[in-house]
Amino acid sequence: MNLPAGLFPTLPVATDARWALPVVPPRRAGESRVERAWAVLGSVADPEVPALSVVDLGLVREVTDLGDGGGLAVVVTPTYSGCPATEQINEAISRALEDDGLGPVSVSLRRAPAWTTDWMSEVGRERLRAYGIAPPGRCGDAAAGAPIHIVARGVSCPRCGSAQTERLSAFGSTACKAMYRCLACREPFEHFKPI
């Protein structure tokens, strides 16, 4: 299923220093192509959560230099089975690396091990909180198939920090989020579900 370019136009997003992604750093002397690629990918935003890069999310699993003008091979693990942004993410990765002169780029999919929010970086978690989304707790054994609880524990309000929150729905505006509200500051907020 190929979606046409421009179906999801990139909306202008007001950047905020608290959560803005780093700009691509200048090249360092002696930097390998793979190191350079990771630096570039650290600035490629996830289309649904622009406060996180594809590296912060743990989507990029491997970057290999194919050498001799062969370009780069990037391995990506999808977040959700039905994530509608998968194709868009792959394109954004290719475009960013090719724009930086690292092409040609081939992006391949690796399903196992399945993506988990435990792969999200600490920096990413803090940026997520600043963006207004409560970051996921650790899955640990939950990922192994233990029952999940009706009310997740320990989700603090990303605005006021209160632990007095309640879940409104396990499903939110995107597959990865649940809807919550804070009982202290009364603000609704989203929670990135541990999975």
Binding site: M1, N2, P4, S81, R111, G145, A170, F171, I195
Partner: protein
């Protein structure tokens, strides 16, 4: 209708996988009928989110089945260009809700009965000797847990709710229960899957499924219906009258505009 149907792979392995893929696909299609019609906004979003997960799972499995077919088929050909008899979904998921599909009791009850089955199926498929199937299952099982939790939450809330909600949940259960026998009704594809290590026989899921469903129904104060002699056969390709209408809607664009793209 100008695009001819494809020849669907008929080997036992493909039929075993298509049964799971089609159950996800048709369940997603039924559930997505709630898009824009949910009783509350949160539920509208939840039902469509779950449908999206199910379509993703179906896509992955259909792609995998298609790659193994001769000649190879893609996910769209398998999803949209088969004849009704070649769809192998469980009959349960094609059942429409009452009140023109707008009875929420039917939606949550169907979601519990099939969700608990899919969750167990994905759990077992994680150990498949087919590495791609195991990888798809490893992702899907995490999503399935959320679906079952959500369905069970509603079944208990409404079953143990008001007189009106309890009555409607009882009716939904009585109406859908006869279709659950099929979820555990082994055939040659199950036997072949067990031999090859592709996946479990359907009957092997029955004890755990009953434990989950019985616990939830007991919490919901809903009595288990009596078994009847009725047997549905969608997973063998012989469907209730409801699937044809769904396929007419699902296939219309691909049939009318061959290879049509956005």
């Amino acid at each position: 209708m100008s695009t001819p149907s494809i020849t669907s792979p008929q080997d036992a392995r493909s039929r075993y996988l298509l049964r799971v893929a089609d159950t996800c696909l048709i369940h997603a299609q039924r559930q997505s009928e709630w898009c824009g019609h949910g009783p509350i906004l949160e539920e509208d979003i939840a039902l469509t989110n779950m449908s999206l997960d199910l379509i993703g799972q179906a896509r992955a499995l259909l792609t995998h089945v298609g790659q193994g077919a001769t000649p190879p088929l893609d996910e769209d050909q398998l999803a949209f260009l088969r004849d009704e008899r070649d769809y192998l979904n469980m009959t349960l998921v094609e059942q429409p809700g009452r009140k023109g599909g707008r009875d929420f009791a039917d939606a949550v009850m169907r979601n519990l009965l099939i969700g608990a089955w899919l969750q167990l199926m994905w759990q077992r498929l994680q150990a498949s000797t087919d590495a791609e199937v195991a990888a798809i299952a490893g992702k899907a099982v995490k999503e399935a847990r959320y679906h079952v939790e959500h369905a069970a939450d509603w079944v208990v809330r409404l079953g143990d709710g008001t007189d009106e909600s309890a009555r409607r949940m009882r009716e939904a259960l009585d109406r859908l229960w006869p279709y659950t026998h099929e979820l555990f009704d082994d055939d040659d594809a199950d036997a072949a899957a067990v031999t090859s290590g592709l996946g479990p026989a359907r009957s092997a899921l029955q004890a755990d499924w009953q434990a989950t469903v019985k616990t939830t129904l007991a919490d919901a104060q809903l009595a288990l219906p009596k078994d009847t002699a009725f047997r549905s056969t969608g997973s063998r390709g012989v469907h209730s009258e409801n699937l044809g209408y769904m396929l007419a809607e699902m296939q219309h664009l691909q049939r009318a505009f061959p290879g049509g793209r956005w």
